[in-house]
Subunit: 304 residues, 2 copies
DNA sequence: CTGTTAGCGCCTTCAA
DNA sequence: TTGAAGGCGCTAACAG
């Protein structure tokens, strides 16, 4: 008799109406991704990992763009109120305290990717470690005057601590190796290569200019290289440059850089969320993914 | 009395349960995007345009990834069967006849972006025109031996005719200007710069090598430039190169290229879909967006 | 203009 | 094991 039903299901191509299911179950059967997903290719790559996992699943996927602070606020508020999603993946953004507790009390399982927060499970990249490795890598080549170029820390709208963590790693590496920290070797700018070019130009005019620069993203690294080119400095002969991210174009431009496991971060994050959703428990789990140096052509030993 | 209800709504923060609404209305109140959205930055940019429009709307947004032919099939089948979406935006892919009529009979309003199809409204880019303009641009500089490098036409999984259209434009421009078409000036390869580098290398070894190459995408153009560099040819002095797309990195690399209105295509497509959804009529509308040449540093007059 | 009711399609509980 | 019924929250049609 069960058999008969099974046959009928096949014959009629029956599949349950999701909307009725949701209404009846009081669940949305949907997972949300909140991300500033148009700002950088890396976010897209993480989303790709998530999608890879969730497509094997019954869950629908809703994507929310939180590029501006206003949209971000609206998005979180909406999510809590509407019950649109059973689980939420937040990429490269840490919800503030208010948002976090709202999410928590609404019982929405939440996993942070590329961000940390005390209330939520997260899969973060060890940016401090990555920054340290990058700096150590330069030191290993014999550099002693090492500059650092990064975004402004924690831009208000959408932020995690990755920029700052890389900076911390940079400082730690200097310290570990008994190298002095010099404030004028550190520059911040908005996140595009043109701005990086400007600040790098200044940086290269400093007294006892750096022989190597660690840029906290590949995009910035390209600006640094432009600045070097402007001044007639050859890379890596006169100036070594290491980036961070390993975006697609970096291979083409032969940039030595620090790669973070983007796809994997999405896969892991989605896996964690699924587990939480299935088990119903919401212990906070912390995963930290390692970075890896990709050696290409923009780092060498300093001359003289 | 209406007033009382309004007050209560505000006071209780009431908002209707979307799932119940959907069930009752028999509508999904959702718009789907079907795209191979991880393959190229341009797709992401189009999605961004769509999102910009739809975020002002009551519609939810569901994104479907149709990177492989199998997923594509499953996606369309699922969409028609499940009634997951009221409207569908398809990016850079033309549904085949079977899929198209299924969509049609299921009454799912569909708009194609960067693709054409007789059954659906679409906003397409005039790639033939763009290919013609690029070629004419080179001819305008005095080039007579012009090569063409592109993807293989219509890769099976996910395709529109853009590559082929650009090729047609290329041929038309030659013809219009009384220039001979030479088969050995045309090369196809898979879509990455490494492959382009290989075929361009061959192309540059041809008897009476081209003095200019039109690459049907910027990524391929970079491969062409690499090939030129390998052979000690200077760009643009010894070889002019024009690309297509104007992806972000092209400005950085100073590539002369053809820009297509990516964001706008998303905005327009979403607008058309909304209009169709609201009016209920499903006349086929055809929008064609123009391309524009971005003059930078990789094209000059041929030497001697 | 206000109030009531049936029904959307499913799941869960309880009765047979 | 199988069947019947109530309810999820809303909309639409109808009655007062």
């Amino acid at each position: 008799m069960r058999e008969k039903i099974r046959e009928a299901i096949l014959e009629l191509q029956y599949s349950p109406n999701r909307f009725a299911q949701r209404l009846s179950l009081g669940k949305s059967l949907t997972i949300g991704i909140a991300a500033a997903w148009f700002t950088t290719p890396s976010v897209v790559e993480r989303i790709r990992g998530i999608e890879q996992v969730l497509s094997e699943t019954q869950y629908d996927l809703n994507v929310y763009n939180i590029e501006t602070i206003e949209r971000r606020k609206r998005c979180f508020a909406d999510i809590v109120r509407s019950g649109k999603v059973d689980g939420l993946l937040v990429i490269s953004v840490a919800p503030n305290d208010e948002e976090a507790s709202a999410l928590r009390t609404a019982g929405i399982a939440t996993v942070l990717i590329d961000a940390k927060g005390p209330l939520f499970s997260h899969v973060a990249i060890d940016d401090t470690q990555g920054g340290m490795e990058a700096t150590n890598f330069l030191i290993g080549y014999g550099h002693k005057k090492i500059g650092f170029v990064s975004d402004y820390f924690s831009t208000s709208a959408v932020c995690n601590n990755s920029q700052e963590d890389r900076y911390i790693g940079y400082k730690q590496a200097l310290e570990m190796n008994g190298l002095p920290f010099r404030g004028e070797y550190v520059r911040n700018c908005h996140h595009n290569h043109e701005m990086a070019r400007q600040v790098a130009t200044e940086l290269l005019e400093v007294d006892k200019r750096p022989t190597a620069i660690f840029a906290s993203s590949d995009t910035l690294a390209f600006g640094v290289i432009e600045a070097a080119r402007d001044k007639g400095l050859r890379v890596p002969d006169d100036l070594s440059v290491i980036g961070y991210d390993d975006i697609e174009i970096s291979a083409y431009l032969n940039l030595t850089t620090v790669r973070q496991p983007l796809l994997e971060s999405g896969i892991e994050g989605a896996g964690m969320l699924l587990k939480a959703l299935n088990s119903g428990n919401n212990e906070v789990e912390e995963h930290v993914l390692p970075t890896k140096i990709v050696t290409r052509g923009t780092v060498s030993s300093p001359r003289n």
